[in-house]
Every structure is written in C-alpha cells, then in structure tokens.
Symmetry: C2
Subunit: 122 residues, 2 copies
Amino acid sequence: MKDNRTFFCNGKPHHMERFLEVCLLLLLYDEIGYGYGLIEQLASFGFSEAGLNMSTLYRTLRKMENEGLVTSQWEEGGQGPKRRVYEITKDGKNELDQWIGILKIRKSRIEVLINQYDEKTT
Amino acid sequence: MKDNRTFFCNGKPHHMERFLEVCLLLLLYDEIGYGYGLIEQLASFGFSEAGLNMSTLYRTLRKMENEGLVTSQWEEGGQGPKRRVYEITKDGKNELDQWIGILKIRKSRIEVLINQYDEKTT
DNA sequence: AAGACTATATGTATAAAGAATATAGTACTG
DNA sequence: CAGTACTATATTCTTTATACATATAGTCTT
C-alpha cells in the first residue's frame, strides 16, 4: 500500500511566500543570469531540480521585470537557443535589502514556535 | 507626502504559508481554546492584534476541523456570547509534529539566504 | 436605551504557485 | 540525415491561502 498521506502537511507544496523571488534577486545581485541557467544555482537554496517549477520561475522573472526590479534582453550571439538575460536594477537591490529584514523576522517567528514546541513536548 | 511604498515587499501581507495553522495546533496542543480567545495568545508568535484577520482565523479553525485535526463544540453555560471551543485530535498532534520538521527546513533555508546576502554585501 | 465589546460566520476578491501543455532551436548519435 | 535528447521560454487553467468587507447576535456598562 503506497504512501497515502496521513498528514495534510505532506500534501505537496511547502513553498514560502515569495522566497523564490528573493533568491532570484540575490543570485542576480552581482551577475546577470537567465531562467534555465538559474535552476542549478537555486539548488543551494533548497530548490530541488526536480521540484522547481519552470512555469513559476519564468513567470516570477517576468513579474519582477514588470515591477522594475530587473531588466531583460535577448542574449546576443552565442550557441544554443536564445536566452533572455536578466539584470538587477537599483530598485531590485533596494527590494532585496528590504526582504532580508522581513526574512529575519520570519526566521525569528519560526524559532519562537519551535522553542515553544520543544518546551511542551519534553 | 505619505509613505508611497517604494518597495513591493512593503505591500502588506507578509504571511508565511500555513503558519497560523501551525501556531493554532501548538496553542491547542495542551489545552482547549476558542477563536476569539486565541487572538492574544497568537501575539507571542508575531501576530499583532491589529493585523490578525478574524475571518482567516475562524476559517482556518473550521478548515482544521474538516480535516480532522481538531474537534469543536459549543461551550456549555458560561457568561457572554457562546463560544465554539476547539480541542486538538491525535491526528492534529501528528500533523503538528510533521510541521515542526518542515519549519526547521524553512528556517535553515532562510539562514542560507541571509548568510549569502551578508557575504555579498560586506 | 445607547454604545462598546465579545463572538462567530460568510461572500467576494486577489496573489502565489502548481500542473499541463505549447513552441522551437540546438546537439548528439547511429 | 532521421530520430532523440536537451536547452530555453512561455501560456492557460486551476488550486490554495489569505485579505477585505460585511452580517449577525448576544452581553455588559453606563
């Protein structure tokens, strides 16, 4: 009998709101990048190559462009299919700085919860 | 000139997926509780009394009941308006245990990102 | 009697993300 | 050179979590 998911929290998507977006801003912080190529770099942030959703990745990049956080252009000559290459903007860097603050708060809220859990269960 | 939100990440909802649900499971872990009364207890997890959304709170509790994580009943005699009192189930406790593991992963992913940010910006 | 507070609930809207699918060019391989 | 695998981007549809607004009603205080 296969895993029949007793726990609702096993029901797949354990994403953290906008986390992908922040990772992308950080990866683009000091060098340009393109969608497909960013996949392997995202692995260090816990995005499995299997699990990462391409549609989400591309859509997020285009959304960030609409918001003025990055700019893009088609890569000039180069082998293989053309790549849309993204570059971070000043606004994008500011946005990242703000997000870091928010992530520190998120982290501490998680810590508080884990600590209270440990207190109750030991 | 008012704050005109230069940063998209200031655009309000900095929720973490399902975090409220996990907090509720923990609060109900060793004692029963009801919606309105849980508000002040949620403050310790970073939910401001102003910011916390009652519709989300009540809806989340009912959803948890549908999923079998909690049970509820109207409180017998007692002053004030009637309260729907929630009690955690065995499934609910198992679910919380699972969530704690997920939150530890989330926390470490955030740490990785913050560390990489610090490396790049110092 | 008026107003503040306690308490729960629902209808509608929005935003983030997943699943599935479409489209093509390039590289390798026999 | 035909077939296959890989690189690369994009769109449509759907689901999920949450916010916003509003409704309802009992209780307490003055």
